[in-house]
Structure formats: structure tokens, C-alpha cells
């Protein structure tokens, strides 16, 4: 038990001296890192311009406040596009994610040495690049528009869905698979009757979860020209039309809340 001598008495301490020193060292490193970072940010900021931040905020808020409701007429189609990018993107990504997940799961992969690393590579590369960066890439390949957004969302979702799905496949109850195998089932029959029913709830949950995330992401894809409501947002911002910006932000917020509600309901019904 760590303790120190104080006035001839042994007093209890939470940590001994060595642990205490390492702890102080880590805190010190953290503070140094933070001060250094803050210094760098501060050097790149024109503090002279920050004096009237309050006024600017009030000014922008004042311009934005009655949202231009009549602009809503022009927003219905971008909303439909955004919904399509998210939904079709999720559907397409699931078609690719399912085989990738089966190839990546340890208990179903055809080959641990050759196929599994490739599947894992697909998952990692899809996951580590943000959907906006995928969108930038596809805008430069297929041109600006809904199609680029659709591709970006699909590619980005593959890694996410496949990762969660292969973890679900690895956690299945092997007894059921064995029982099906014992009846003399072929490989595809084992899949359909032994594995698929076990992962179906997880699959539906993942699909809805990803759809919810995709709705959020597809609202901003338009900022790089990949279709959806973000396109209107970026053009309103470029023309400094604050009443339109506030209306679009409101629409996005409502869309996000609705999609989260739908996803929570569906997942609640499944699980």
C-alpha cells in the first residue's frame, strides 16, 4: 500500500511515487502538446478581425431569420435526390458488402490466406476515406451530379456494412450450421439455411443504421458538386442568400431527425 511519511506518521496515498511521477509526466506532455497546438492555430488567425465577431454573428442571424419559405418550391427535387442518393447508395453497397463480408469472416471465407486479406483490404480502403473525398473523386470521373454522389455513398458504405456484417457472421451459433451440415446439405444450402437466418436481424439493423448515416452524409455531398440538397446550400452560400441558407439548414435538420426516428423505430422492431 503506497504511503508517505508526514510528521512521523504514515499517511495513505492513492499512488506510489513512481506512478505519481509518470502521471505528472503524461499531464505535462498533454499540456505542452495543447499549448503548442493552440499557438499554431493562434498564429494562423487574424485576431484583429475577431473584434467584431459578435456584430457579424448578430448581423448574419438577423439576415437569416425569416427563412424564405417560398424557396421551398425549388427544394423538393433536391430533397428527393438526397433521399435517392442515400437509399440507392445503401442498396448498392449492401449488394457488394454481403459477398465481401462472407469472404472476410473467418468461418465462411473460402481461403484464409488469399481471399480474406483481399476482403479486409477492400473494407479498410473503403472505410478510411471520407465520403466527401470519394465524392470529389467521382465528380472528377463521372462529372458533377446525382450519379457521382450515389457512387461515393455506395463505395463509402461498403466497408462499414461489410465490417459489421462479418463480425455478425463470426459470432453465429455453430451448432445450427453443424445440424444443417449433418443432414447432408450442400455448401449453398448451409449458407441459406444455417447462416443467413441467424444474421438476418443484424443485417436489417446494419442496413437501416447505415441508411440513417447516409442521409446525413448525402445532405452535404452537394458542397463538392455531387448532387442533392447540398448543391442548393452551396449556391445559396455563394450568393450570400442567408434566408435560403437558413431554410435549407432547417430542412436538413428535419430530415436528419426524421431519418434517426425511422431508423430507431425499425431497429427497435427488429431487435
Amino acid at each position: 500500500m503506497p504511503s508517505i511519511e508526514k510528521n512521523g506518521l504514515k499517511v495513505w496515498q492513492v499512488r506510489d511515487q513512481k506512478a505519481q511521477l509518470t502521471r505528472w509526466g503524461m499531464w505535462f506532455a498533454l499540456v505542452v502538446a495543447f499549448v503548442w497546438s493552440w499557438q499554431a492555430i493562434s498564429d494562423n488567425t487574424l485576431w484583429a478581425l475577431m473584434g467584431n465577431v459578435g456584430e457579424v454573428t448578430v448581423d448574419i442571424a438577423g439576415r437569416a431569420v425569416p427563412p424564405r419559405w417560398s424557396y421551398m418550391d425549388k427544394l423538393w427535387k433536391p430533397i428527393w435526390d438526397t433521399l435517392n442518393i442515400a437509399t440507392l447508395g445503401t442498396v448498392i453497397s449492401l449488394f457488394i458488402a454481403v459477398p465481401v463480408a462472407f469472404m472476410a469472416a473467418r468461418n465462411t471465407t473460402p481461403s484464409r490466406v488469399f481471399v480474406r486479406p483481399i476482403a479486409l483490404l477492400i473494407i479498410v480502403s473503403s472505410r478510411s476515406v471520407n465520403s466527401l473525398i470519394w465524392a470529389l473523386l467521382f465528380v472528377s470521373i463521372v462529372g458533377p451530379g446525382v450519379f457521382a454522389g450515389l457512387l461515393a455513398i455506395s463505395i463509402r458504405s461498403i466497408g462499414f456494412c461489410a465490417k459489421l456484417l462479418y463480425e455478425a457472421i463470426e459470432e453465429i451459433d455453430e451448432n445450427q450450421v453443424e445440424a444443417i451440415t449433418a443432414t447432408g446439405a450442400k455448401r449453398w444450402q448451409i449458407m441459406v439455411y444455417g447462416i443467413v437466418p441467424q444474421i438476418m436481424p443484424a443485417f436489417a439493423g446494419i442496413a437501416v443504421f447505415r441508411w440513417d448515416i447516409n442521409i446525413r452524409e448525402s445532405t452535404v455531398l452537394g458542397l463538392v458538386g455531387a448532387g442533392g440538397i447540398g448543391l442548393q446550400l452551396s449556391s445559396s452560400l455563394n450568393t450570400i442568400a442567408w434566408p435560403q441558407v437558413s431554410l435549407i439548414l432547417l430542412v436538413i435538420l428535419v430530415a436528419v431527425v426524421i431519418s434517426e426516428w425511422v431508423s430507431a423505430k425499425v431497429r427497435g422492431a427488429i431487435i
Binding site: N44, L88, S128, N130, L136, V146, F147, V192, L237
Partner: protein
Amino acid sequence: MSVALDSKLGTAWKKPPFISSRRVRIGFLIVALLYLFLATLGTKGLANWLAVFGIVEEGFKFGRIDRFFSGIDVNWSRIERGLARGMQFIEGFMNPDFTSRLDDIKQGMYESVVMTVASTVVGIGISIPIALGAARNIAPLPVYLFCRFVITVSRALNELIVAIILVAILGFGPLAGFITLSFATIGFLAKLLAEEIEDMNKVQAEAVQSTGASWLQRINFGVQPQVMPRLIGLSMYRLDINFRESAVLGLVGAGGIGATLNTAFDRYEFGTVAAILLIIIATVMVLEYLSGIIRARIK
């Protein structure tokens, strides 16, 4: 029961469907097919197909909604031209160009790292009191509701949208990105930490309280040791997320490597694009590896 079994005797077994009600199943299928039609081909495509089956006349139009349900336009000639660029991109990955824009990349990475570190530290600093307030077992109801509201707002607003608004107010530069990421950290960290505090073992906190400890001492000795491993794990995870996000905030002018990346895309310099993406992926992997080690050591 036996009647039901007898009537099924001798008939082949069929796999039970995922959705048990037949009506719901067929309804779901029809809605899904109709949606797919409208989403991909639009009402014009639907009218064409209906005309093929002779349900409506050739050249039928749905009228005003045609403009709304427009489907997805795929410009094949544009794609054909773009595929060359796709090939260039892949070639760029085979042969990434780190040198020609080295100064830009260095500056961008420096800003990204700085924004990540500062915003994670500040975000955690703000998240901890908010998490304490958002845990129902230690906070009174008004505080709880307020803190939950802060968390909900932070989660509902997309980082990029916050960044756009802040860039409009504060001007271009890493300050906007730093505030954006700090704000986004609150929604993530405070929510998960509050859930952890709610799940904790309250016996320990009670034992500390029974020694006559003050509120602060109770939190420090009764609650903090229980949630610390989780807090460190979450912080490392958030550091990782903040870095990834800082890579895109530059697209809207909030500083970081994203601006360099965007410029490289605009100039079609795919070698530089590949180099930046490789650096981002490598950094994310290093961070993931580090956080794995730290989390393993803490447990």
C-alpha cells in the same frame, strides 16, 4: 394443434419467410419496386414501361410531377471521358507524388494535426462536465435536461455545416475548424461517457460518500476511477475521428489538409492526391494502432 400438424403431413417443408405476414410482405415488395423505379428511371421511365405493356398510350406524361421525380441522369459520354481520369487516379496511386507539392502538404498536415490535438483536448475538457450533468444518477433533472439538449444539438448538426457557418463568421483558417471539431466532440464523448456513468457501480460512490467526502471528492474517488478506462479509450477514438474529419473540413475553408487535397483535385494532379490520401490513411492507421495499445494497457 394436432389438426394443423395432420394437414401438413406429407407436404414438403418450406423455410419460414423473414416477414411473416403475407400482406405486409407483398405490400413491402410492391412499394420497394415502385420506389426503385421512380428513383432510378423517374416518372418518364415509368410511363415508357407502362406504354410498353399497353397500359397507357405512347408519349403519356404524368404532368407536373415529371420534373420532380426525375430519376438519375447518367451521362455516358462524360463518363467515357472521365474514365481516362479514373485511370490517371489509379496510376497516381501506383506512383504517388510526394515531392512537387511538399510544402503545401507539410503545411496542411501541420494544420490538421494541430487542429486535431487542440480540439480533442478542449472537446474532452467541455465534455466531462456535460457528461456528469447528462448522467441521470448524479445530476438533478434540470441540469440533466439542459446537458442532454446540448448533446442532441451537437449530434444533429453535421460538422461541415457547422464549419461553413463558422467560416462565414470567423473567416477562413484553422480557428473555425478547431471550434467545429471541439463542438462535434461534445456530442460524441459526452453522450457515451454519460451512458458509462449511468451504468457504473453505485456502491463504490456510496462507500466514498459514507466516509464524509464532499461532492467533488465523491466524483473524483467514487466515479472517476470506474469510468477512466472508458474515457481514455473514447478519447483516443475521438482523436482518430477528429483527424479524419479535419481532413475534409479544408474543403469548406476551415483549415487543414483538406484544402490541399481539394486544390490537387481541381488541378487534376492525381499523383499529389494519391500522396495526400496515402498520408491520411497511414496516419489513421497509426492512430488506430496506438489507441489499440493504449486501451489494451489500461485494461
